[in-house]
Symmetry: C2
Subunit: 250 residues, 2 copies
Amino acid sequence: MSREQEMPKYQQIAADLRAAIVDGDYAPGARLPGENALMSEYGVARMTARQALAALISEGLAVSRKGSGVFVREFRQIVRDGVNRLASAKWGRGSSIWASETRNRSLKVDQMTINEVEPPAHVKSALDLSGDETVICRSRRYVLDGKPILLASSYLPSRIAHGTRMVERDTGSGGIYARLSEIGYEPVHFQEDLRARMPLLPEVDQLKLDPATPVVDIVRIAYTEDGQPVEVNEMTADSSAYIFRYRFNS
Amino acid sequence: MSREQEMPKYQQIAADLRAAIVDGDYAPGARLPGENALMSEYGVARMTARQALAALISEGLAVSRKGSGVFVREFRQIVRDGVNRLASAKWGRGSSIWASETRNRSLKVDQMTINEVEPPAHVKSALDLSGDETVICRSRRYVLDGKPILLASSYLPSRIAHGTRMVERDTGSGGIYARLSEIGYEPVHFQEDLRARMPLLPEVDQLKLDPATPVVDIVRIAYTEDGQPVEVNEMTADSSAYIFRYRFNS
DNA sequence: TAGTGGTCTAGACCACTAA
DNA sequence: TAGTGGTCTAGACCACTAA
């Protein structure tokens, strides 16, 4: 129970529950008092009890399951090593850049589309394309242990990708970067821009996001040795599934 | 107005408004129809109209201002170059690592505390400290154009920082990293881990966050040439103020 | 079948904003 | 002072879950 006469009731209730969760009185996955329990315990109306629970849910501390209850949220994140995963030694010898991040867990691509399209404006400028050049867009959804974690769209200039395995579903050992290297466009320099934001509704569906889960947009541009951009990869990640790691020197 | 008999009313209303915002019918900063307008336009109760607006707010598309209305959200982000900002050439010659990110804008530290403390568990293991070693914790809040954007706590082993300018408020030209270099602990290797999540209530206050704004936790560890960890910097950033950029090779 | 969270109503009073 | 969003009540019915 709380004091603080000035604080709205629902915030007082939320504060009590929040403190109990942070203190560990309710472990991850544990069931919290429901609407009815809060109504009688605090003597408030249903909508007020709901507001309190909604506050915890919107902070990402709790999730509700219809017909079942409200529970303390559980997390399980994988480390994505932004630099080492793209070391040419990795894809050079044909292994997936995902291997070290997902060992012992099942990673699948469960949706893939390949299309030739007009480039979106920012892709066009990132790839330094002239007026009417088209791009190959490879879109995929990655699923880890049955949970979607990443949406990725890779854009390649059509003039480079045409007639190669880069426009096929299976790009072969070492993937796109190995194929680019074989035809003289080895990607050597990379830039990744990260932005966190709340997801839009279609993204909530596609990534099966819990409430109050931000997404992270990652835009990677790959450049050849002489600075020519050869690929743009736009990704949207479930932030609750990821730790983004970057190692660098000097 | 929407169809979709199965969708709850408040979601239909939210969908109408969302589409209008995405289509640009309401520009950033524009005023949206309020509770009363939605109640009469859709013939729903106040709480239902509120639910619709709450959905947009929780997606980060809108913000409400009490007594005034609900408005389309505006963004203004700065690029934080994770790698170049730490190039020794920068702090080596004494300039702030913030300079290039914030030109023409006013960046200030408006809160600072310096304490000798027992290290939190993860700091202790990151800095490879023995049982009873303490650390110097420098905590600051950074404010850009009057808006708090970053909370940062830098941890240094007491045995290294004691008796140097690193325990004073003004650490001098080039900052902590310049001071570390002078006494034989030049930071050369860095690791940054990024995590996005929803803020807790005290963070909402400290960073004056709009609703539905995620924060990004950044944990940076600085290592000397021979791999000895010398500093851990834990940061919490307002994600709506930042684009995180990393450039790297191979 | 009992209990749960999800949606919704038709009111009320309040503090705040802006004309 | 009129209008706004914020809080709150005391009900109702629903679909869903789990015993």
